[in-house]
Symmetry: none
Subunit: 199 residues, 4 copies
DNA sequence: AATGAATGAGGATTCATTCAT
DNA sequence: CATGAATGAATCCTCATTCAT
């Protein structure tokens, strides 16, 4: 039942953090293990002390995103209990891409797009992480429905799914355009549509 | 008056076709030049007889998509002159992902997502290709507007942009889920929203 | 006893000329057959119509230098019949390196330095070409001697050999320095020394 | 306080030593990285653990020559404090080429001749290494002059420069002839000339 | 005489991973 | 926990050369 030492944990966390950043910036395959180690200031083979393989750290990165989303401690306000909350959720993503000059899309989606075909585990991980958002949004709509504030025709799960899809596409188009407008425009339309189910 | 030899063109086209398929299936970085050659049944160094570099063939593949879209000869019916035409455009994409068992998203978007950050030319190429769709959809909405069949508040360009974004996101989610539903659901909502501007 | 056609000869000569220039500028190994063909505006496989191999064209280039020197039609005045003639011989070389901004040494010596070790034929060719100069200088000194204008202690062949060695070294140092001074200085000393045998 | 591991240093040094030998024997371009590794008994990709590129090891080899010359520990006695010392300097070079059956010239000059045109850094490195010899010889002549043992007309720097140029040319001609005589003859004349400034 | 497609070995370089200490 | 040396397959690309027309 031995715990990892403090120091070890820190080194490990730094590696994950660096990998996460590089994966987001350049993609997984474009990021070599050596690059991660150099950028994290870690000695050469520390990596294999903490991770079994490159695949392993990819999944570790996805686990990190999962934890952040579940704990709600990331930059995205994912606890949604009002229409304003939903807007915040979308807008936090817009803020996110602004930070990187509209040169990146969703870090999770990018990993999924790159690796889903060749690695079933990663595909499922990606799915699971994105499902957290979908679930949270679903719960928001369910709440509305229960409170009689959503049209009967509206299916919470279906709307949540649409929300995430349009968001992913929004971020993607802004990356291709290196410009905030496509994402802003898409988010605006999506919100307008979603609100049309309000009553 | 002399054209490039038949034979050469065929070999070249076969390489591009193979590259296109592999890029779509596995991604650009995951596809080695050797794989392309082997899969296309081409001798070892024919590649560099026809292409300057791997980047070159990526752009050639994008050029191919561009031509297909401009000529309207691909599987996607991009000439849109009615609401039914718009539905066809979306549905053709759904058919497309079904062909690959929902294991792939948009081939152009995937290339963009993987390479836009590191290669400005590719980013612009991707943008240009996707803009063709956006332009076609824009023209459809403009036509409607001119005919007084679209609400005044509707901005054709903006709606077209939303259309493509939601489509990209739709395909992406279905790839992550290896399931048609997320895409179908997203497309359904998007179309519902767009049609709400009809009058 | 069929002669080569006019046109063929011209193409061939252009290839040799281009090769000569590129070998001088960048070295033999640094020059690819393709580069020669592209720079000479020759179709891809013309090369192997005229030459058996890359080695073959190297030797052709050396043969060219040989002919130029034997015919005395090059930029180097190699017919030496006076001290002034010897000075001209040296100075023509200094002019030569000036033309190329002191970025090149002797084209023949360079080929020799690069290939003598691996190709005995080339080594002998190089030697033969340089021997032409040595021979001409030798004859000059022999003439002087016969005319009683050279000290008895002076050995014509030996002095000629020294002349060429110091010249080769002179050009080399100027290339390393990208500056005319080392060559000018060396030539000045060499000439001073040689003239000391005059009587 | 930690030094690079013994083992690593040894491997690295062995690679440099092997590269040095092969560059001298066959030239830089004629020597592949694989050849260096095989000849040095080093595993396939150790090379890039120690050197960034092939250019890097070329410069490392030049750095090696520089250190050897500065430390005076090589086969060439470069500390010159008498006419005999100058003769030793020349003769050590003659001994050097004898070791290799007169199939090689100056290793530094050869690298310079092959790469100076395409690589400015290498050109400067080569220049710097050869300047060490020139500087040492210059100091010898300056010493003579200060002691009143050199004619006033003699310029130390200029004579040193001539010394090295004639030496380079001497070695070159012997390589082309695969024979010691041209070098011996040239050195003999150069020394005779230089001594003529003694008083 | 000329063209350009085809070949396949070999070049430099990068990569994920393992080993010895 | 940590270090960096070692491994060898794989990657992109270039080369000299030959073939088919």
């Amino acid at each position: 039942m031995q715990e990892l030492s403090e120091k070890g944990n820190i080194t490990r966390a730094r590696i994950v953090e660096t990998a996460r950043e590089l994966f987001h910036k350049n993609g997984v395959r474009a990021t070599s293990v050596d690059q991660i180690l150099e950028a994290s200031g870690t000695g050469k083979s520390q990596f294999y002390h903490y991770f079994r393989s490159k695949e392993d750290i990819v999944r570790e990165v996805l686990r990190f995103y999962k934890e952040v989303m579940l704990s709600g401690q990331g930059p995205i306000r994912i606890e949604i209990d009002s229409w304003e909350g939903l807007e915040n959720f979308f807008n936090d993503h817009l803020k996110g891409i602004r930070m990187f000059n509209y040169e990146r899309a969703c870090p999770i989606g990018s990993i999924g797009n790159e690796l889903a075909a060749e690695n079933e585990d990663v595909r499922q991980d990606v799915n699971a992480v994105l499902d957290i958002s979908i679930q949270k949004i679903t719960e928001f709509f369910e709440g509305l429905k229960k409170a009689g504030k959503l049209k009967k025709s509206a299916d919470p799960k279906s709307l949540a799914n649409f929300s995430l899809a349009s968001l992913q596409g929004a971020l993607l188009l802004s990356k291709f355009n290196k410009d905030p407008k496509p994402a802003e425009n898409t988010v605006k339309h999506a919100l307008t549509y979603l609100k049309s189910f309000s009553k």
